[in-house]
Symmetry: C2
Subunit: 190 residues, 2 copies
């Protein structure tokens, strides 16, 4: 009984996503490129690398490389050699990239969700997070959660400083803005 309802929900998710995606070549960006832009807008500075992005979207590095090249050519993202690791590349959105994100076709879906959940979209968010966690676990992937809910996050370790929080794993100070970002290393607090 429960399983049939769950199956029905799975069908709906699949169909919803397909419909939301149809006709989505807005701004000349393909879905993978949109997803990369979204990620770059929300990932913290330690997670803005091609490898992290590849893990996040469940794709390969080769594919991500192509996506990033395309974004760079369009002037929406920038690649810069990392100072810490000579092999590594740091990614960032450009001004234009941030502007283009305001045209994100997913905003239409967000409106539909707002309409369809009139009372509490928050409930839907928690439900989806739980489902996503199960899916990620099955795929043996990382959660990529938000920094401030990580078990390595130490709130207000330096009171008064401009970066008052601290990441115990990376041993790095964190600003308030940092704490809201997506982090590759995130492990949910117990």
């Amino acid at each position: 009984m429960t399983i049939s309802k769950a199956l029905e929900a799975a069908y709906l998710v699949g169909r919803l996503e397909r419909l939301a995606r149809s006709g989505v070549t807005v701004e000349g960006l393909n879905p993978a490129q949109w997803e990369a832009l979204r990620y770059l807008a929300r990932a913290n500075r330690f997670s803005r690398t091609p490898a992290a992005l590849a893990d996040y979207v469940g794709s390969t590095r080769g594919t991500i490389s192509q996506t990033l090249i395309a974004l760079e050519q369009k002037g929406l993202a920038a690649r810069r050699a990392s100072a810490r690791d000579g092999r590594s590349v740091e990614l960032a959105l450009t001004r234009r990239g941030e502007a283009v994100l305001k045209q994100d076709p997913l905003l239409h879906l967000a409106q539909d969700i707002a309409l369809g959940t009139d009372d509490d979209p928050a409930k839907l968010v928690t439900t989806l997070q739980a489902i996503l966690a199960a899916t990620i676990a099955r795929n043996e992937g990382r959660a990529f959660g938000v920094c401030h809910s990580c078990r390595h996050f130490r709130r207000n370790a330096r009171p008064g400083a401009s970066s008052p929080h601290h990441c115990g794993l990376l041993d790095e100070p964190l600003s308030e803005a940092d704490s809201k970002d997506i982090c590759q290393e995130q492990e949910a607090a117990a």
Copy 2:
């Protein structure tokens, strides 16, 4: 406030679907082929045509034609000239097609949903349906709802008969099984 939660939910839906889809070439079927199989398993006999399928998945007829050819070559679906309309083709799953559906990769997602909604997946289903309705309306598409909730559905118009129900639009008798199928013509009851 509400809109930011809705946006968060939209992100989650997108990511969930992408993860669920990754590595999905099970049984040598691509996502479009899976979706066609699913549709054929759930659509009523008036809606099992290439054109209806194309409308349902929001694709073009040319693309659907290729998908169906592939499915036919694999022995999963059958095409038969329609008796009513010489231009039209009637689709059906084969035995093998029904068997293969039991390997549907979406079943994994269904399990994740069952895990993530432990208490009431039914609530999620109604929420998703409402969202989907909004999306379809925005795309100016048809709802493709279930037969028995259609305003043309007349329950038990012929009591005792093997096909006791009736469709006022097509003027056709309907069995109990028919009434649970997806119908292209469906219009939600007022």
